[in-house]
């Protein structure tokens, strides 16, 4: 089954751009002018993902994680949004690119899995015909061959009796099967980059585990890059190599997953870890929530956007958290970046926070 999957890759772009990662986002800023004012959804965001790697983007609702990844696919209406910075997908600049260029990239080099599989599948068309459409858009094949390909993809993602189910409509499928069908559709053109936007949030835990396993298997098989967007640090811990924590439209911490989970150096990440209920540890110990609520992006706080909720800001001299935006600077470990004025966050974490947060 897999050999046909591998050979049908007509685009086969040579990877001769040296060592540049497949997806490079540099200083991306996305703003939406509204009647109430300018919504600063994403500000100055930079990251990159290599082929075969998984980047997890984590943050609460309204932190800009979905907006930034939709920009990669050019899904923002140019008339209603302001995009600056640079996004390169396999060397092609996406920001400011025309529809022709984007159509070639979408669903071909880059595919996306959305949170809610019911609203992202068309209810009037069969699952098969939707996969066929995605395949024939980028490949010059007969309808019959495309349908055979659709059946093959459904089988690959673990839909039972794929030759029969290919003619079913989305409402015939359960939530987990719909998400599998979405994954089959997004992978039909062997994308080099898969953006998964909360792919398991609407699913039950046992099904979530199946889908995460499937995404990992497929990634190993095709060596694609994956961007996993989620609010759930548990999913990140299972699947990503690197984590990027977003707060109020900015990257506040970035680094290897293990490092971020064991030695976070940004008070917001501490708060996130402390808020999570766990299945081990002392259940009678109250959780440590972050006080307050996430800020409005219409009017984000001055200085560090997290300062109104931060319990450590009195450790910084001279009220700098309120007045100056902290730079994204190097943490203690290699490749670890964080945005905080605290002088020695690693020491504070070890001495004061670790016991409370990790139990």
């Amino acid at each position: 089954m897999t050999e046909t999957l591998e050979k049908t890759d007509p685009k086969a772009q040579p990877d001769d751009r040296g060592d540049e990662p497949f997806l490079v986002v540099e200083e991306l800023t996305v703003q939406f002018p509204t009647y109430d004012g300018l919504v600063q959804a994403v500000t100055d965001l930079s990251y990159s993902v290599k082929l075969g790697q998984t980047l997890g983007i984590v943050g609460e609702s309204g932190s800009g994680k979905s907006v930034s990844s939709m920009a990669v696919l050019g899904l923002h209406d140019v008339k209603r949004s302001r995009l600056t910075g640079s996004i390169r997908v396999g060397g092609t600049e996406v920001i400011g690119a025309g529809d022709q260029v984007m159509r070639k990239i979408r669903g071909n080099d880059v595919a996306m899995i959305f949170q809610d599989p019911l609203t992202s599948l068309h209810p009037f068309y069969t699952i098969g015909s939707q996969i066929v459409e995605a395949y024939r858009l980028h490949n010059d094949v007969t309808k019959k061959a495309a349908k055979a390909r659709a059946v093959e993809m459904l089988e690959r993602v673990g839909i039972p009796q794929p030759d029969r189910r290919v003619d079913d409509y989305p409402h015939h499928f359960s939530g987990g099967m719909r998400q599998r069908a979405m994954i089959a559709m997004s992978l039909v053109n062997n994308p080099k980059l898969l953006i998964a936007d909360e792919p398991t949030t609407a699913l039950d835990v046992t099904v979530q585990a199946q889908i995460l396993d499937l995404i990992q298997d497929l990634q190993r098989e095709y060596g694609s890059a994956v961007v996993m967007i989620t609010h759930d640090l548990g999913v990140i811990a299972e699947i990503s190599d690197e984590v990027l924590v977003m707060y109020a439209g900015r990257c506040v911490e970035r680094g290897a997953t293990k490092q971020i989970l064991t030695h976070p150096e940004m008070p917001y990440t501490w708060g996130l870890l402390g808020s999570i209920a766990d299945t081990t540890g002392d259940p009678d110990k109250p959780l440590v929530p972050i006080p307050g609520t996430p800020p409005s992006l219409l009017n984000p706080p001055t200085g560090c956007a997290f300062h109104p909720r931060c319990t450590h800001r009195d450790k910084v001299e001279g009220n700098r958290c309120v007045t100056d935006l902290p730079e994204l600077r190097k943490g203690r470990y290699d490749g670890h970046l964080m945005r905080c004025h605290l002088k020695d966050p690693d020491v504070i974490f070890e001495e004061e926070v670790k016991q409370e947060v990790l139990g």
Partner: protein
């Protein structure tokens, strides 16, 4: 963590549910709408909630946990079975007879957006139960509402605001204030935090814990998130497809689950802190989805996804059996440590050869 007794023999449980059944009829199309089938949403479950304690009801979507909550609050009429509140039978009471019990049993809903009337002010919403039940004289309602808002951590001056002026976490607090308005003895909390952001979830869980301590309210806490339930409930019942498959106290359920479904559920729940300190869990991956409750599998309902299933599972339905303080409904119940963390911080996971791969 010590295993606390399920119920002390001296005090009768606040709520005792026995063999509760709820079947929703499926009607045929056309003039003569004959019943052509039954959705067996809840099919003979028994549990009890003691005064001031909380019972967690866990399961995946479609397992009947929400239906159970709605039966207990009498928003649905049970098909069969008995529900005793402080010793009084409440199944089958008409709405007038039910009135005094409605005061004692309140509900917190999952979605803080759709459960508050957008045209009413916070004052009207939180005050409504007191007006309906006439528990507080009209001129004192406002004062009591402001008191309640303060208890749940909202500004009492926001009395005249509308729900759309609040964030999701604050709206859930309004819903909680409303459920406290009549000083209930039992609150059914149906997924009270699953619609909230992680940092806000912890705030609301801590609030509910404080309220429980302060007012000694019993909770029936319905959730799909095992970790959240663990932080709130000393006792937990696991549901699958309309049946309770395992009941026990926290330590029993999380440390040595006996039912294969509980084991699978526990192994599928991602746990960050455990990953952070280097713990590993066994992977038990279930195949497929929950079967339809219209036509559930014969015998044990979990057998179609179970790696231990044998012929007897299809023939005989396993009853809830008492195994060392817990109750398990499985022919092949045996303990399995899903998560092992040794004292030195390193974790060990023994992988079962029987676990089904994806």
């Amino acid at each position: 963590m010590t295993a606390e007794p399920t119920t002390s023999p001296s005090t009768p449980p606040l709520l005792e549910v026995k063999d509760l059944v709820k079947h929703f009829p499926i009607k045929s199309a056309g003039l003569v709408r004959r019943t052509i089938g039954q959705v067996q949403a809840v099919d003979g479950i028994s549990f009890s909630v003691s005064q001031g304690r909380s019972l967690g009801l866990v399961g995946e979507s479609g397992c009947g946990k929400t239906t159970t909550g709605r039966l207990v609050t009498r928003l649905y009429e049970p098909t069969a079975g008995s529900m005793k509140f402080e010793g009084h039978e409440i199944a089958g009471l008409n709405s007038r007879q039910m009135m005094p019990y409605r005061r004692e049993i309140q509900l917190i809903f999952q979605d803080p957006y759709s459960s508050l009337n957008p045209r009413h002010t916070v004052g009207t919403i939180v005050g409504a139960p007191m007006v309906v039940h006439k528990t507080v004289p009209k001129d004192r309602v406002k004062g009591r509402v402001q008191e309640l808002l303060e208890i749940v951590g909202l500004n009492p001056e926001h009395y005249n605001r509308y729900p759309n002026e609040f964030s999701g976490g604050q709206r859930q607090r309004i819903g909680i204030a409303r459920s406290l308005a009549l000083n209930p003895k039992l609150i059914v909390a149906d997924e009270p935090v699953s619609a909230l952001d992680v940092s806000i979830q912890a705030q609301v869980i801590n609030l509910l814990r404080d309220l429980q301590k302060e007012f000694a309210i019993a909770f029936l806490f319905i959730a799909h998130d095992l970790a959240v339930v663990r932080h709130f409930c000393p006792e937990i019942a696991v549901m699958y497809l309309g049946k309770i498959v395992e009941v026990g106290d926290r330590a029993q359920i999380y440390e040595t689950p006996h039912h294969p479904y509980t084991q699978a559920l526990l192994s599928a729940a991602p746990d960050v802190k455990q990953a952070a300190i280097g713990g590993r869990r066994e992977r038990i991956r279930l195949e497929g989805d929950v079967p339809s409750p219209i036509n559930p599998p014969s015998g044990c309902r979990f057998r179609t996804r179970c790696w231990k299933a044998q012929d007897v599972c299809a023939k005989e339905e396993p009853p809830l059996m008492q195994i060392g303080g817990r109750q398990v409904a499985c022919h092949f119940a045996e303990p399995l440590q899903v998560v092992t963390i040794e004292s030195n911080g390193t974790a060990k996971a023994e992988s079962p050869s029987t676990a089904s791969p994806l």
